[in-house]
Symmetry: C2
DNA sequence: TCAATTAGTGTAAAAAATACATTTAAAATT
DNA sequence: AATTTTAAATGTATTTTTTACACTAATTGA
């Protein structure tokens, strides 16, 4: 079989930045690396791309192998390709961002795998350029969430408006007027009001909402505006 | 020296989608591929990543080698990684998008290299998945140009408001009211009005404008809104 | 000097975003 | 049983932004 002769072949890896939200804070899922170099150090979920799989398939596989997660929101972030980013040998890394409902997978992750959630604000030292990957992923999340309803991926099936608002406030580190926020969110017709209330955080209780999945798919690509303009005047992309 | 043993190494390439605008139409720069397979077929500018260079460096190098272009706007688009996208062997391709002033480089490109501009609407059949890369790049351009002043990269140092407007109208295939357009554009303080007029396309002549480079850098990341909302309700990203 | 052509400009109406405070529901306490 | 406590829910007036829309100006060539 003919090949491209005299060209330089290299390893290609995928690394996944997995964001979660616990109702108050954003978290990132990390594992202790299982092999040298930097064995036992905290790392993003990563792995080498195999011969017969696309990058997307590799990211799915790595996520499943290391955490048990399947069918999660997963998006290509960007490549990290400094020649010496891995001290052992040249590795091109493609970073993927995943958003998951932290509670849905919490048990599974803790029990079967040795992944651990860390507060985004208190991440341990990470191997290689993984801290930079997290930074870049966070920037992208801030950018994208300002226009598209992706943060819903972080919430359980049923959630309340105060929870949703806290998630937006956390991401942009700001306070949003709840009257304006609920008007904007509800005007998209993305949410269905449920009968029940969540009484875990107030006496009155807050009504649960769920996603109208039809509208969600349609509206996903259209442009929303949940975040006040003053908060998004200088996003980094 | 230790390596990651028993892992699969593969070729990594960069491919550049180079957009230009000739005042009326968008164009894409293509070359005839110089080696098998698909030798002589039309292709994006591409090349393999070398051992000691990052992807960005590779893209810069490829662009320079194949067209003579330097210091152009170049942005990572996304990876294309289907295992069989290249019939010879596994190649992961990272696509980059470049925006250039078509006239500034026209001579250089035609004379020294065998690259050729094609109308975006009339591209020839391209090798491998390059047509898909162009599609994706165009989607990204539409998305990004709706919020950031990147289209200025396509224009010469001095340009007129009608030219600028034609560029936006072409990208979104729409008509924009010129009173509203000029008000919006000028309100950003991104443009400096010049003394001279361009009389090439009207008897009255249209004043030239140039970019206020200070403001341009500052404003690049902030969010603009040159395109009417009705035109950007369903961008694909 | 008149006709033709494209550039340039202003205003009123509609829509969207913002600022802002009180009432309501339910539980816990007295 | 009444009162207090806590967070949820809600409406309106003001400001800002966006849109729709049509005539005048400058210049060239006939």
């Amino acid at each position: 079989m003919i090949k491209y002769s005299s060209q330089n072949r290299m390893l290609v890896a995928v690394d996944c930045i997995i964001f979660g939200f616990d109702g108050t804070d954003y978290k990132v899922l990390l594992i202790q690396r299982g092999f040298a170099p930097e064995k036992e150090k905290w790392s993003l979920m990563g792995g080498f791309v195999q011969e017969k799989e696309s990058l997307e398939q590799a990211a799915d596989r790595v996520l499943k192998q290391l955490t048990g997660l399947k069918n999660v929101y997963l998006e290509q972030l960007q490549a990290f390709s400094e020649p010496d980013r891995d001290p052992i040998e040249r590795v091109i890394a493609m970073a993927y961002v995943a958003l998951i409902d932290i509670h849905k997978y919490e048990q599974q992750i803790n029990d079967d795998f040795h992944a651990r959630w860390f507060l985004l604000r208190e991440l341990p030292k990470l191997i290689f350029d993984h801290a930079q990957m997290v930074d870049t992923a966070l920037q992208r999340l801030r950018y994208k969430a300002a226009f598209h309803p992706i943060l819903f991926e972080l919430l359980p099936e049923k959630f309340t408006l105060p929870q949703l608002q806290a998630m937006y406030e956390g991401l942009y580190d700001t306070k949003i007027d709840k009257r304006n926020f609920s008007r904007k969110v509800l005007s998209t017709n993305l949410l269905i009001k449920e009968q029940e209330k969540d009484k875990s955080s107030s006496k009155k209780g807050a009504f649960y909402y769920s996603i109208d999945k039809e509208h969600y798919k349609e509206k996903f690509e259209s442009l929303l505006n949940f975040v006040p303009k003053t908060e998004i005047t200088a996003l980094n992309e």
